[in-house]
Structure formats: C-alpha cells, structure tokens
Symmetry: C2
Subunit: 135 residues, 2 copies
DNA sequence: AAGTACTCGCAAACTATTTGCAATTAGTCT
DNA sequence: AGACTAATTGCAAATAGTTTGCGAGTACTT
C-alpha cells in the first residue's frame, strides 16, 4: 500500500483508524471532521472524534490530505490527489460549486509578478453569490 | 453624524458602546472581535465582549462594517469604506499583506462569464506564501 | 518473540461565539 | 421636561468546535 510508505518515512504507522480516516476523506470529497467521523463510524463505531482530528492533522503533515476553509468556522478536508479545483461558496444559499484552477491562472500570475506571492487558490474558498441567487 | 442615520432607518440606536465599536473598527483596520474589545476597553473598561459581538453583527447588517476570513477560525472586521483591498495571508509566517482589488479583476470576470458567479474577493483571504518566505 | 515508541480512547480543558434574562437607556411622543 | 416603549446592555451560563494529558494498547523494527 502506497500510503503506508508515505507514513513510515516519517516514523509513523498505518493503523486501522488512520486508514479508515483516509478512506473516508477520499470517498467524501469535501468533508468536515464531523462528517468524516460519522462516515468512519458506519463501519467502526468505536472510533473517537479526537482520533479523527489527530489523524487528519497527521495525514496533512505527510501530504495525503489537505484542508480548505469553505465557510465560517469549520475546515473541510480533501484527499490531496483531488485538490484540482477551487470552491465557489454562495453567501446566500450556502451551496459550494467547483471551478477548475485554470480560471485563476491569470490572477495567480499577477500576484506572483507584482508581489512575489505564491498563491494556493484552493486553500480558501472564493466567496460570492452563485448564478441561481444572483437573478 | 452619518452613522446614526444608517441605524435609525432600521429602528436601531446609536449607543455609546456601538459608537465605540465602530470607531475601533475604523481605527484598527483588520481586527478580531477580541482586538476590538481590547481597543474599546482602553477608554471604556466596562464593555462586555458579548456586546462587541452583537454590535459587530448589527453594524454588519446595516452595512457599516464587514468581516473577512483571514485564518483558521476567527473572522476579522473592517470598516465598510475601507474594503478596497484583498488580503494575502502567508501560511508560513502568518503575515497579512494587502493588494488592490484590481489584480483580481480578470479572475472575477472569468467567474462571472463562465459560471455566472458574482465574486466578493475581499471576503476570504488569499492564501499562499509571501515573497519573504518563498526565498 | 520482545522492545520501543507511536496511537488510541476517554475525559477534561480550551477557545471562540451565542443566548436568556432582568435592568438600563436612546429616541419618540405629548 | 417627563413619560413611554422597544432596543440594548451586562452578566452568567450554554454551545460548538477543537485540543490535550494520560494510561492502556499495538504496529513496526530487530
């Protein structure tokens, strides 16, 4: 298992709980820690919420998952492989749409040229009003 | 006082506390509710933190202030008049830089054209690595 | 098979924010 | 100026989300 390799390199283990958390993140796409815990509990009811938090942190350090801020408060997690889109959060209806990173290419380039800032557009959501709510 | 007018229109009052909160937001630029409470307490020690929260909410409804998400968890508040720049948050050193909205004009236009999404670029921070930390 | 250090579950601690309620007060009316 | 009414305040307690200390358990190394 490839995941095991990423972990062992840093002296970490691939425990059943850790694997379950990772799989849940991969299945769910966008998910809060609570969502992930709920998913894992479907098959493994005993898992503790703090274990989910700790494993998300660990998996993020190793580079297997990443988190994004979609709204007020909670972060949501993604598998690192799937982080190829940015998030359009609608302030009116709360929906979360996706858009390919390309639409921001120009913007990212501007920031790099003018400010030397290397942007990660996927980390924070793009906030505004979706097409449905604009009308 | 112009502020009073905005408030009374909706049946709201301009109390000393509310005025202090608004002035603090204007002076501080970027500030968390805690920062604002601390500022207000310099001249008015008795003010309660929940009053600050309630007034920020009220002032936001009226349109005198707005909030932005700069980091994990906490929101930061700005006077509405000053919301003419976006925030570049560095994930390494935590610094917050500013950039004029213009650099995002192109990006915003893309989202409008392709997705009908009306973007508010100032609401969430732009996350990445600042020039100093890149090197 | 045994040892070591990483992990787990649990409960309690924390941080940030919100709410209920009784007392107070800004703005309106007379 | 004085009275009235609904908005607002302070306080304390509640809530939500996340983190931490600790003893028991266990994955991986040799």
């Amino acid at each position: 298992m490839a995941d095991q390799h990423e972990l062992r390199e840093k002296g970490l283990r691939l425990t059943p709980q850790r694997e379950l958390v990772l799989n849940a993140v991969r299945e769910l796409g966008h998910a809060t820690p609570e969502d992930i815990a709920a998913k894992v509990r479907e098959t493994h009811p005993g898992i503790n919420l703090s274990t989910v938090y700790r494993n998300l942190e660990t998996l993020e350090n190793v580079g297997l998952v990443q988190h994004t801020h979609l709204g007020h408060g909670g972060a949501t997690y993604h598998a690192a492989e799937e982080l190829t889109h940015l998030h359009l959060v609608c302030g009116d209806c709360g929906s979360v749409g996706d858009a390919p990173i390309d639409v921001a290419a120009n913007f990212v380039q501007n920031l790099a040229d003018d400010y030397g800032f290397r942007t990660d557009v996927t980390h924070f959501a793009i906030y505004g009003t979706c097409a449905a709510c604009v009308k």
